[in-house]
């Protein structure tokens, strides 16, 4: 991809001018492409977009999220997915088609305060997202340490094809489950490893936009010199990592079974 100059923008700033395709977090106004978020611009022959530096999680269909059960009605659970939308998990998703509100006790399956990893099955902006746990690796997470980071930092934490998260998991012998909504569960037998992994995640969150991050994380985790690749010596690559599209995310997720099966369901 041919790169052009990057700049920091705030909502209303011009990202690029000309006949470029408006991609994400931008809109077209006449000949200009305008930003809708605070972030870094990225223009190429494919189009212009803004990579946000901050913001809340905005749901997308097929995203893997980690949610907190708040309550349940007779037909569904309501789930906090760290977003402006409240998600719902239909009871049929857990009990099957022959679910009966009179006979099945929803509270015994999932109760308030439980953590689940789920996929956003349906979301169309007009209604609250509907979740599903009907898939391998999805469901309740019984153990682990819970941490929250900004959802805009999630792509950087995963890294290119999962490089960053694999590095952390491998070096600390932990299993890390990442939700696209910025909720992360770290589990492992070794407490020190878990603490180290949490520290590494926090560093990635704070320093997501800086260069040589993977290298510094590897040094922090005492990964041998030979394994340190400078895959992100240029800041531009850092930004590239954060523009992984939805398909790439999901392939990253499914490729890396260890990331999601910390719930023991696998």
């Amino acid at each position: 991809m041919q790169e052009t100059k990057r700049k920091y923008v705030i909502p209303g700033d011009i990202v690029a001018e000309g006949n470029l395709k408006p991609l994400v977090n931008v809109f077209r106004n006449g000949n200009s492409i305008i930003s809708t978020r605070i972030g870094i611009t990225e223009s190429s022959q494919d189009g212009a977009k803004v990579i946000p530096l901050s913001g809340v999680y905005f749901p997308r269909a097929n995203d893997i999220v980690i949610g907190k059960i708040l309550d349940h009605s007779s037909l569904s659970w309501s789930i906090d997915i760290n977003s402006c939308f409240l998600a719902h998990l239909p009871a049929q998703d857990v009990f099957g088609r022959d679910f009966s509100p009179a006979q099945d006790d929803m509270g015994r399956q999932l109760s308030s305060g439980d953590i689940i990893v789920a996929r956003i099955a349906i979301f169309d902006r007009t209604r609250d997202p509907i979740l599903t746990i009907q898939d391998n690796d999805l469901g309740k997470i019984p153990t682990g340490e819970l941490i929250k980071i900004s959802p805009t930092r999630v792509p950087r934490l995963i890294g290119k094809r999962g490089s960053m998260i694999q590095t952390i998991e491998h070096a600390t012998t932990t299993r890390i489950t990442i939700g696209q909504n910025g909720i992360i569960v770290v589990s492992g037998k070794d407490k020190e490893g878990v603490t180290l992994a949490i520290n590494a995640i926090h560093i990635v969150e704070v320093e997501a936009h800086t260069s040589n991050l993977t290298q510094r994380i590897k040094q922090l985790l005492n990964v041998p010199e030979s394994e340190i690749e400078s895959d992100d010596t240029q800041p531009s690559h850092e930004v590239n990592d954060t523009v992984t599209n939805a398909d790439e995310f999901n392939s990253t997720k499914t490729d890396k079974e260890g990331m999601i099966n910390s719930n023991g369901s696998k």
Binding site: S112, G113, D114, I115, E145, L146, V185
Partner: protein, 275 residues
């Protein structure tokens, strides 16, 4: 009992487990010790049109208090003392769990507990705020707006009120021809002591000072103790269904004194700098 407008804060079960394990090891999730309070920041005279004001940050909890002085009739039975009215409001911007509307019972309790600490410590010598005994007295309003909620509103609001009152300048009113006249001059408020509120909560068998919002969502019981400059207990408020043993109450009272002394010194220093 009225229904709280606040939506409940649900702490994840995993987080609760983490918290219990951490507390039993003597450390809290935010790296504080069990009887360690969060850093206090105070800025006084932040509202130019008020007689006195303070902006207090206790960790991420933020409270703004403003003092307004008027004259009016004294309260019944307190004809020879000025009137002091302390109110509190949790603004909807302060937390996603707060809805607009009339104050819920927790906010009313907050205002009452803060008011009690200041009133019972006799921080202001109200007998000096009388213009015509039984008829016209100074009426001092201290209105508190909570602008960010991260637990322990009792202490943060109390510090804000104390800072606003300590740093305020009262207008000098006079009676001329049976009329109240504002002379345009100001006077120092009749401060006698600095009350300090210290809140302790119980989670399981452990006692924690200055809880944050997550700890408040998990607490079994809460005890707020206000002490005056001499270290005497002037007000107490116990909340929630959980219990404290006699020894625990004694321990908490001791902490309220010792910690209160440190906080008082800090409050006085910060108010002095701000003035």
């Amino acid at each position: 009992m009225s229904i709280s407008k606040k939506s409940p804060i649900i702490v994840e079960n995993l987080r609760k487990k983490q918290m219990r394990e951490s507390i039993s090891a003597g450390k809290r999730l935010d790296d504080r010790g069990l009887d360690e309070t969060r850093p206090i920041e105070i800025e006084v005279n932040v509202i130019k049109k008020a007689s006195g004001s303070a902006w207090v940050k206790l960790g991420k909890t933020e409270v703004v208090a403003g003092v307004k002085v008027e004259t009016g009739e004294p309260f019944e039975g307190l004809e020879n003392s000025g009137a002091l009215i302390i109110t509190a409001e949790v603004l909807p911007i302060a937390s996603p769990h707060i809805e607009p509307g009339p104050p819920d019972e927790e906010t009313i309790e907050l205002a009452r507990v803060v008011d009690r600490g200041v009133r019972e410590s006799e921080m202001l010598d109200l007998s000096k705020l009388v213009l015509v005994p039984g008829k016209i007295v100074y009426t001092i309003f201290v209105d508190c707006s909570i602008i960010n909620v991260d637990g322990n509103l009792f202490d943060a609001t109390s510090y804000a009120v104390v800072a606003a009152l300590s740093s305020c300048k009262l207008p000098v009113f006079e009676i001329k021809d049976d009329q109240v006249v504002d002379t345009g001059k100001t006077q120092e408020p009749p401060i006698t002591t600095t009350p300090v509120s210290v809140t302790t909560v119980k989670i399981g068998e452990y006692l924690l000072l200055d809880p944050n919002i997550e700890e408040e969502a998990c607490m079994d019981a809460r005890l707020t103790i206000t002490t005056n400059s001499k270290g005497s207990i002037v007000a107490m408020q116990k909340g929630l269904k959980g219990y404290f043993t006699v020894d625990e109450v004694k321990g908490i009272a001791g902490k309220a004194r010792t910690k209160g002394e440190d906080i008082r010194a800090k409050l006085q220093e910060l108010i002095k700098i701000g003035k």
